[in-house]
Every structure is written in structure tokens, then in C-alpha cells.
């Protein structure tokens, strides 16, 4: 039994625990009783072939999709499936989607400024003053995402990788406890990918991160624990080596369909 599946080995600090999550899209079961546990301070990679349900799992955790059954425990206390998206965001779960969507005409610094944890009302923004603590936090964040030198640049002129880092930086300004990232390295150059991996490791020192990825080299270089999904279920979990040697994982990546396929899809 893998450590993650052994209840006695489960540490007290499980920041996220998905239990038997089922998601049904009009007959198509995107998640069929998915179990997933994330410990605090982990950097977990979530992989699996097309249609495995990786993005759907993240959607469930952040509240974008409501499951038909099952629950998602945050910090062992709150069931996220009972909360709405913005409430979950306030609780400390940040989600970053695939395509970078930053504000092209705002500068890098301005992005971080408006992403700060603060009152989002009109009056508050009309009267807001930047304190020196705010400045310090922004500079610290700029350093972490490697954009200190480009703080005054308009985001529209950043490279693709830099835009992704800016978005991650904006997420971090919200001080989330869990970060859910959808293919953060996609479309990046080799050097940018490397920097992204280092950034994610850095983030994982204080926060917990789940990364959905397809780039296997990225996974091999930066993952400690990998969760493999297939057909809406947990298929295998362990270190990169464990997963590489797992026969079942090999099979699903090579497209040898299992019998379950026949009644799962109504496409």
C-alpha cells in the first residue's frame, strides 16, 4: 500500500482531502469516486492521460464545479463542496488557469497592488494609501517571481513565461494556503520552465501546491510526489520512480483502453 493510502501514515496536517468525489456531466462521469489527499507544504504533481479528470478535480476543489457526491475537506474542518467559489477563494484556495490572463495596460507592480489582500469596494480603493508594509510585500513578491527589474513594465510587453509568473505572483498576494495550477509551464522556453519549477519549489516551502502538468520532463525534474489519474479515479501515487515503473500507468498512457471505457462515455 502506498503511504498516501495508509490511514495510519496520514499526517495530522492534511490541508486538502477529497473523499469519493463524483462528478457527472450529463451522463459523462468526469470523476468516479476520486480520492485525493494533500499534506501541508507539499508540491504535488497531478498527471494522467486526456480525459482523466485532472482539471475537473481542480474545478471541484475551487468550487467551479459542484460534485454529485463526495466531499472536499479543507484543513480537516470545512467542506468546500458546500461553499461558493468566492468563499473558497477567501478561505485561501487559489486557482490559476492555463492561459495567462493579465491586464496588458497595467504595470507589473500595479497588478500586484490590486491583487493584494484588501477591501475590494469602491470607497476603499478611492481612499487607499500604499503603506510601507504594502510596498515591502510587493517588492518581496516581485523578487520571488523574478520580475523586480520589470516592475514598471506594462504586463502586455512581458514574455509568456513572465506573464505566467506575474499571475502566480498575483495569486500569492492573496496569501492562499493552497495553490491549484493548471499547466503552468506550458508554452514556456526551457529556461522559463526551469525557473518556474524553482519558483514552485520555493512557494511550496510555505504553502501547498497542486500542479496539473503534461510536460514529463518538468514533472521528472521537480516532482517529489506524483498522483496519476485515469478515467476519473486515482490510478497510482508515489514518487516519480514509483510511477514510472508502474505497469498500469504505462498501459493507460499507451492508450490501451480498459473495459470500463465502454459504459463510461456516451459521446
Amino acid at each position: 500500500m502506498l503511504p498516501a493510502q495508509n490511514p495510519r501514515a496520514r499526517k495530522a496536517s492534511d490541508i486538502l482531502r477529497c473523499e469519493s468525489v463524483v462528478v457527472d456531466f450529463d451522463g459523462f462521469k468526469a470523476l468516479q469516486g476520486m480520492n485525493f489527499t494533500l499534506r501541508q507544504g507539499e508540491l504535488r504533481f497531478l498527471i494522467g492521460p486526456n480525459g482523466a479528470g485532472k482539471t475537473t478535480l481542480l474545478d471541484v476543489i475551487c468550487g467551479k464545479v459542484k460534485p454529485a457526491s463526495g466531499r472536499v475537506l479543507f484543513r480537516g474542518e470545512v467542506d468546500l463542496t458546500k461553499r461558493r467559489e468566492h468563499q473558497i477563494a477567501k478561505l485561501g484556495v487559489g486557482r490559476k488557469f492555463q492561459a495567462p490572463s493579465i491586464f496588458p495596460s497595467l504595470t507589473v507592480r500595479e497588478h500586484l497592488e490590486i491583487a493584494m489582500r484588501q477591501d475590494r469596494g469602491v470607497f476603499a480603493t478611492l481612499t487607499a494609501k500604499m503603506t510601507s508594509e504594502d510596498e515591502d510585500r510587493i517588492i518581496a513578491q516581485l523578487k520571488m517571481i523574478g520580475l523586480e527589474a520589470k516592475a514598471g513594465w506594462k504586463a502586455g510587453s512581458l514574455s509568456h513565461g513572465e506573464k505566467q509568473w506575474l499571475e502566480i505572483g498575483m495569486m500569492l498576494m492573496q496569501e492562499p494556503e493552497v495553490l491549484l495550477l493548471d499547466e503552468p509551464a506550458a508554452g514556456m522556453t526551457d529556461r522559463e520552465t526551469e525557473k518556474t519549477g524553482i519558483l514552485l519549489r520555493e512557494i511550496a516551502r510555505k504553502q501547498s501546491v497542486v500542479v496539473v502538468e503534461h510536460d514529463m520532463e518538468f514533472v521528472r525534474n521537480f516532482a517529489s510526489t506524483v498522483t496519476v489519474m485515469h478515467e476519473g479515479k486515482l490510478l497510482a501515487e508515489g514518487s516519480v520512480d514509483d510511477v514510472q515503473r508502474d505497469e498500469r500507468v504505462m498501459e493507460v498512457y499507451l492508450g490501451r483502453r480498459r473495459d470500463a471505457d465502454a459504459d463510461r462515455s456516451t459521446a
Binding site: 492561459a99 495596460s105 497595467l106 504595470t107 469602491v122 514598471g152 514556456m188 503534461h214
Partner: protein
């Protein structure tokens, strides 16, 4: 402001603004009565342009109906002036239309304080109503613009139709004193000019504060990506309504000042054509820069004044051509000419895709599908 705020660029801009302000304040010294009066009108219209830049340039919402807000302010002031001129008797156009006593809603305008308050608040209230119902329901873009046009048509039709109450197509004219001063008196005119100039400075300072604050940054974020702004926790409709109301208030203020220099307000001055012209000033001057709106308003109206006298047909042709030229070649307007090298760089970074959409939705293959080219400017403009 920390010391590093004062870059050479910013210092030059400040010097520029100070020079322009001085030039405007000294205008009575070097302009004759007629030209001073024209400039006063232009400055009033520049206030409308500022408000429009706020809602369009910075928030990304096009209103083709600002003539209504301008007109409401103008009518509020005109009503007061007319009552003063009538000296307690019924205004002439009402007697001609067969009314025997002053309508109830005219009565409060005898008080200048009420008239000024109404001139500011009525447009803002109207904007609040329209904005609340449309932005809350996520009606934006072209549909909102069409609604503003509908507003213009409804309002002008109403004013034209209710001749007895509003003076109909003739509008309201025939007044001569404000606060006991004779408006036609040259010294009073200078005073009114200076008041208008100061109002413009105040409006500019207000807009500058708004756009430079966190509020302004959120506005621009909403303009750039409304959903994205929503996703980080801001309610775009609240910001859009606020910007819309402020822009309406500024237009109302402009209307009140305008009427003091012109001596008449009629429905045609707040109709579709003036509303569109107002947008053209901002577009040609350069939206999203504030100073562009002011320059655009003054220059375009100046040009119109010169051309309308000599070549009236040429004017509409010219403004149309200019608009097309600006949209194609100088999307950032005249103010954008200041940043020409950056603009050339922007051109070179245009998008690769033919279908312009990319794989943002379906394909698992690659992320990072962007729909627009990069904005090449490195440093934020003042």
C-alpha cells in the same frame, strides 16, 4: 510622494501643465472679447471630454449619449437664468404657449443653489439609474452604447415636444444676469472665463486623482479584462456605475458653464450629433490620457469654429476623415504621438494567428493562447 517619483519625464510634464495653465489664465490679456468667449466655450466642452475619457478611455465603456448629461446641466442653469430675467413674472415662451402660471418643477430653479445642485445631480442620478440597470445585468459594449443613443433620442424628443415647459426646439434663451451681474458685460465675461478655466483645472485634478489612485487601476483592469478583474474579487459593475456617474456629473457641470458663455440652450445642442462629436474629440485627442481629451476638445472645436465660418460643409467631412485616420494610423490619438517609438514597437509585435482565437478552450496541447498583441510601452505614462 517618494523622491523617486519625480523622474525627468514627470518633471517636464508638470512644467508643461503649469505653462498651459498659466497661458489659459492669462488669456484675457491677449485675446479679444470674441475669441475669449470662444475659448471659454471650448474649456467648458473640455470638461465633458474629461468625463468621457474617464468612462471610455479608462473604463472602456463607450457612451454616445453624453449630450444628455451636458444638456441637463445646461437646462438647469438656463432655467434659473430665465427666471431671474423674467423677474417674478412668467417667462415669455410660456405665455406664448398658453401657460398661465409657472409649472411646479420650475419654481425651485429660482434659487441659484438649487439650480447648480440640480445641474450636477440630475445627470448623475440619470447615469446612476441607467448604469445600475445595465451594468448590473452585464449589458455592455455595443448594446450599452445603443441604449445611450436611445436615451438621447428620448430626451431630445421630450424636450422638443414639451414646448410649454422647455421652450421646444427654440430652447431657452433671452437671459442676461447672473447673481446680479450682467453677463454681457466684458468684465463679467472675463470673470466667467476665469471661473470656467478654474473649473477645468479642478475637473482635471479630480480625474487625475481618480485615475492615479487604486480606483483608477481597478478601472483599467476592468477595461482590460472584466472577467479577470471579477476573478480577483472586484465587482466591475460598481466601478463602472461610479465612473459613469462621475462622468455624467462633469458633463452637467460643463453644461452649466457653457450656457453662461453662449446665451442659449436648445435640444439640438444635446442631441445625437453633439454626443458623437464629444466622443470624437476624445478619440482624436487620445483617450486614456486625460490631457488628450482636453487637447482634443479644444483643438477640434477651434478647428470647427474656423472652418464652419469659411467652409461649413468641409467641417463634417474633415472630422469624419480625421476620425478614420486616427483610428487606423494613430489609435492612441494625438497624445499618442508623444510615444511614437513605443508605438512602432507595438506594431511589430502583432499576433501570429489568422483566426485570432487560439486554443484557449479545447486543445490540451498548449496553453498561453493570447488573443492580442503585446503593448510595447515599458513604463507607465504619467
Amino acid at each position: 510622494m517618494p523622491a523617486h517619483y519625480w523622474t525627468p519625464r514627470r518633471i517636464w510634464l508638470l512644467v508643461g501643465y503649469a505653462a498651459a495653465a498659466s497661458a489659459l489664465l492669462c488669456a484675457p490679456l491677449y485675446l479679444n472679447d470674441f475669441r475669449l468667449n470662444l475659448l471659454a466655450k471650448f474649456l467648458a466642452l473640455a470638461i465633458v471630454a474629461l468625463g468621457l475619457d474617464l468612462i471610455w478611455g479608462y473604463t472602456g465603456i463607450l457612451s454616445l449619449g453624453h449630450g444628455v448629461f451636458f444638456g441637463l446641466g445646461a437646462y438647469a442653469m438656463a432655467m434659473h437664468l430665465k427666471l431671474v430675467a423674467a423677474g417674478g413674472k412668467l417667462p415669455d415662451f410660456m405665455s406664448w404657449s398658453g401657460l398661465s402660471k409657472l409649472p411646479w418643477f420650475w419654481k425651485p430653479f429660482a434659487s441659484p443653489a438649487f439650480a447648480i445642485a440640480a445641474g450636477l445631480l440630475l445627470p448623475m442620478l440619470l447615469a446612476l439609474l441607467l448604469g445600475w440597470f445595465t451594468f448590473r445585468n452585464r449589458i455592455k459594449g455595443v448594446y450599452f452604447t445603443i441604449l445611450t443613443q436611445a436615451l438621447v433620442i428620448i430626451t431630445t424628443t421630450l424636450f422638443v415636444g414639451q414646448q410649454a415647459y422647455t421652450g421646444g426646439t427654440n430652447g431657452i434663451t433671452g437671459y442676461s444676469t447672473l447673481f446680479g451681474f450682467r453677463i454681457a458685460d466684458p468684465q463679467v465675461k472675463v470673470g466667467l472665463y476665469l471661473a470656467t478655466a478654474v473649473a477645468l483645472f479642478a475637473a482635471f485634478a479630480l480625474c487625475r486623482y481618480l485615475t492615479g489612485s487604486r480606483f483608477g487601476r481597478v478601472l483599467r483592469a476592468i477595461r482590460d479584462g472584466e472577467n479577470r478583474a471579477r476573478f480577483i474579487g472586484y465587482d466591475p459593475s460598481l466601478y463602472q456605475v461610479t465612473a459613469f456617474c462621475i462622468s455624467a456629473g462633469l458633463a452637467g457641470l460643463a453644461g452649466m458653464l457653457f450656457v453662461l458663455h453662449v446665451g442659449i440652450i436648445s435640444p439640438s445642442m444635446m442631441g445625437i450629433v453633439p454626443s458623437i462629436e464629444m466622443v470624437l474629440w476624445v478619440a482624436i485627442g487620445g483617450r486614456g490620457t486625460l490631457i488628450g481629451a482636453v487637447i482634443g476638445a479644444i483643438l477640434m472645436n477651434g478647428a470647427k469654429s474656423v472652418l464652419s465660418e469659411s467652409y461649413p460643409e468641409v467641417w463634417t467631412l474633415l472630422i469624419g476623415l480625421l476620425f478614420v485616420a486616427v483610428v487606423i494610423f494613430m489609435p492612441r490619438g494625438l497624445a499618442g504621438l508623444v510615444d511614437l517609438p513605443a508605438a512602432m514597437r507595438r506594431r511589430r509585435e502583432k499576433t501570429d494567428e489568422r483566426d485570432g482565437v487560439g486554443d484557449a478552450d479545447g486543445s490540451r496541447n498548449v496553453a498561453g493562447a493570447e488573443s492580442a498583441g503585446a503593448e510595447g510601452v515599458r513604463h507607465s505614462p504619467v
